[in-house]
């Protein structure tokens, strides 16, 4: 059960994400943005939050074209698991691994607080320990979390049960209160809230832990 956490210049949640994976039984290795291959035998890739490349041009745009992302795309195409959190979600949309785009928050303000979420589907290796409709609380910290996509894409996400999390009190204007979405094969998850910042009581909440436990469980039975 191996996880690889990417680091771009400006990533700042990479260590937290590595700690969260390790705390849930993953052997964790780190990959640098210039790497052209992922470490051998990686099951899940974590793309962390932060401000990759200073958020220059568009959030996640330059990171999405970094050499390591070609390896991540190949991993995803093979059916590998990927989780992108916050800036990692932005990188996944910019890389075309998830549809849509994260725009500037509708209120134009950076939002940094704990938010109430609804788990919108239990049908994924990330959310399998919850039930659809469960209420959880996770921290958010972002300036560009306003999920947007054309109407057909939103309909498709909804129809294919690919919305993973919704905000109960939308902090950023995201379409249909979307806080996280899944790929068509349900193995790529992008989400703005930070589960890795809610895995032990000292962080103010432990609701994020179930995500990592679910993911660990997916590999344990495999």
């Amino acid at each position: 059960m191996r996880a690889a956490v990417l680091t771009f210049p400006g990533s700042n949640c990479d260590r937290d994400l590595a700690v969260a994976f390790a705390a849930h039984g993953f052997a964790v290795s780190r990959a640098w943005h210039k790497d052209t291959a992922l470490p051998e035998g990686v099951d899940v890739v974590g793309i962390p939050g932060g401000y990759s490349f200073g958020d220059y041009l568009r959030c996640g745009a330059i990171a999405a074209r970094a050499p390591v992302m070609a390896a991540v795309a190949a991993h995803a195409a093979r059916g590998g698991h990927v989780i992108g959190i916050c800036n990692g979600f932005q990188v996944l949309t910019e890389a075309g691994l998830l549809p849509g785009v994260l725009m500037r928050n509708a209120g134009l303000r950076f939002v940094c607080r704990r938010v109430a979420l609804e788990v919108a589907t239990a049908g994924s290796p990330f959310t399998a320990l919850w039930q659809a409709g469960d209420a959880i609380v996770l921290p958010v910290a972002h300036h560009d979390g306003n999920y947007a996509a054309d109407a057909a894409t939103l309909e498709r996400l909804e129809g294919e049960d690919r919305i993973a999390f919704r905000y109960r009190d939308n902090p950023n204007g995201a379409a249909r209160d979307i806080a996280g979405i899944l790929s068509a094969n349900r193995r790529v998850l992008g989400m703005m809230p930070h589960p890795e910042r809610a895995i032990e009581a000292a962080q103010g909440g432990t609701d994020g832990s179930a995500l990592f436990r679910a993911l660990a469980g997916a590999f344990a039975v495999a």
Partner: protein
């Protein structure tokens, strides 16, 4: 020039529009904020330069999910 597609909500443009109204500029019905990207190219041939810039826009400079672009060779 990279601009948001019509119909894509532009929160920054809206904020600028409000600020202009607050300053007493009347009659501003809408503000759309975009990006001007200047490139210094080695291409000798204008057509080749334009083709190259269009490819750059498609691949990196614009996110064609929400943005559109125009190219001008000076």
């Amino acid at each position: 020039m990279v601009t948001l597609k019509p119909g894509v909500l532009d929160p920054q443009g809206e904020a600028v529009r409000h600020a202009l109204g607050a300053l007493g500029f009347t009659g501003v019905d809408g503000v759309r904020q975009g990006k001007l990207i200047e490139l210094d190219l080695a291409h000798a041939d204008r057509a080749a330069a334009e083709a190259a810039v269009r490819a750059m826009c498609e691949k990196l400079l614009a996110n064609t999910v929400i943005e559109t672009y125009t190219v001008e060779i000076g």
